[in-house]
Symmetry: none
Subunit: 198 residues, 4 copies
DNA sequence: CATGAATGAGCCTTCATTCAT
DNA sequence: GATGAATGAAGGCTCATTCAT
């Protein structure tokens, strides 16, 4: 192709920005086109429609994010705490560098018309689940319901970002990453062992 | 006296169900009316419009939930682990008893046109924050950034419910409550103390 | 009937006020009921519906007005100028005493769904036409196209009231009645005699 | 370039026709679209909504009419009677040529939600007022309350057209223009001088 | 009888999508 | 290829009217 699709990139950036900020339903095709400095019809040259564009972008962004995160979770070398810290730090730095890109990943899922936008293969939760199962097998963390544990970890990673975005956590993500990582490590180690009756 | 407003309750139930299931934007007034077995105009006798109905219901549900949860967080008697367990158990039982009611609380917030549907007074996060600060003052848990800690706890409570709703956590909420509570206790106790560099 | 229909009167007054002020289409049944301090259903006890109420009131008001005005136009005694003056003065005093009542008559006609709310018998224009024809027969005013002449007179009576209502004529109706009457007399006497080519 | 907005003109014509015939409130967007042979949404590409369309068209039509009429009222050359005759003739010819266009101007004003659709600059009454004041200064007509006189003239011009439209004046406007002009001249000359007490 | 809850047709408007230019 | 005028199916909402209480 002679000309690179420079407008496509502008539309993608504009769409991600708007989807992350206002949600899928409240972002119109005209909004996207205007923000990208492009005609309304241009969208249909690259995507089948607004929803298809959104889910394509969503899948792509999630995939890129998951792949970037994978090494942190699969590297078995350093001690657990250090690996968790590196992973959380990566995520929170990613957020600071491109807030709307991660916000798009965080906030958009609920809004899709069809339930299963992501196949399990590139789902962050799947990766997190595999991580937990592996660590249990390795004896790094005590045995537990991996699904529950992965959920706890996931919630612990995301919620501080969400609360920051809502202005309820004052310190910036990069500054709290270490705290969050420490908490998650405690979760993984002390985990779901039942000591309630103590 | 005129006819009693017998259909208001039916609309509330139908609306909560639909908002929780499909989100605000994708639930139409017609949907609500049909699900409630009511004419479309009936909504406007009791609320100013769809959005006002949603935020009124949302505030009411959150308020009821927060007030029901408060005793569990304010009671200072039993040891921490036991109190956390009771609180989580309450929440997860609540979910099993009325899934859509809690799902409505969980999923709806992002979708509101105006940012601040809740005043801080009846915000669950505010209550959780106060809980963390109190426990730190009492020396029950080690000092830490309370906002971050409250976020971690909140995420840990909610995410397992969310993943269950998405079918990614197999066991029912009531069955995993103890595990979740144990994890949160570990979080609170081992907390965000930095032992990463160890 | 035991109780006099006191509420009917309140509804009539409220309706006339609102119709005159906001027009037929923009006045709702609920507006009328609220202004009359009455339930919405009450209207249907006395009239078949909003439109029927409006046209009934309109006919009644026009009829009352026409009948009150009739003596001034049919009395053949005094000189023309004096009779015109008395008639205009009556109309303008009527307006000052009950502005909305006359405004209702003036402004409402265009808004009716069906063209012919009034039968010619109680139409003000019919009466004015008869007046002009009679005066011509009597030789009081020079012969002319009576329909045109009556239109000129009618416009000359109404427009100053309209412009006053729009705030474009500063002096109050009672104060300008004499001027208006003088103008109309000039119209009737000098009339439509063609002196253009002079 | 994109498709040229060929249907805008068709909508304008249809809207003016319908507004003039049935009034603002009783003309629906569907009516306009159907009469123009156009989809309903087309309206919103060119105007913000039905009301904005109506007031824009109204202003435009009034402006065009006022500007076309202005030379007749500002030319100070010929004797008054001749100038009045020319002006009335112009208006009545205008009506015969494009009845709905003038009817739109005549009938629509009352129906607007907001009071001041026109700024005084392009208001016909303002122009008429200036005309009367100028003639008084020039001594062409006797001194009088200009606001009242302008109202009388305005009513005398419009009412015959209104009555014709209602079928109460048989002869067509062009045929009665001379009579109307003669009446108005009498009004201006004999004016509002008080000779009532004679 | 009065009330006002309830109805539902119909209104204005939005917006994803198509397609003439 | 790109544009944006045009479409038309919904959507939220209004309001005259009905009728259970």
């Amino acid at each position: 192709m002679a000309r690179p699709a420079v407008k496509k990139g502008r539309m993608e950036a504009a769409a991600i920005e708007l989807f992350a900020t206002q949600g899928l339903a409240r972002t119109t095709v005209r909004d996207i086109a205007a923000a990208a400095g492009v005609g309304e019809g241009a969208l249909y040259r690259h995507w089948a429609g607004k929803n298809e564009m959104a889910s394509t972008l969503f899948r792509r962004e999630v995939h890129a994010f998951v792949e970037a995160l994978r090494p942190f979770l699969e590297d078995a070398g350093p001690p657990l705490a250090r690996r968790v810290d590196a992973a959380v730090r990566f995520i929170y730095d990613f957020y600071e560098a491109q807030p709307t890109r991660l916000a798009f990943i965080l906030f958009t899922q609920h809004g899709f018309p069809d339930q299963h936008v992501l196949d399990d293969a590139l789902d962050p939760f799947t990766m997190l689940l595999a991580f937990c199962q592996r660590e249990m097998r390795n004896g790094t963390i005590p045995p537990a319901d991996a699904e529950v544990l992965a959920s706890l970890v996931m919630g612990s990673v995301l919620q501080p970002l969400i609360m920051h975005r809502y202005g309820r956590v004052a310190r910036p993500p990069a500054a709290i990453a270490a705290d969050v990582a420490a908490g998650i490590t405690a979760l993984l180690l002390g985990g779901t062992a039942r000591e309630v009756g103590a």
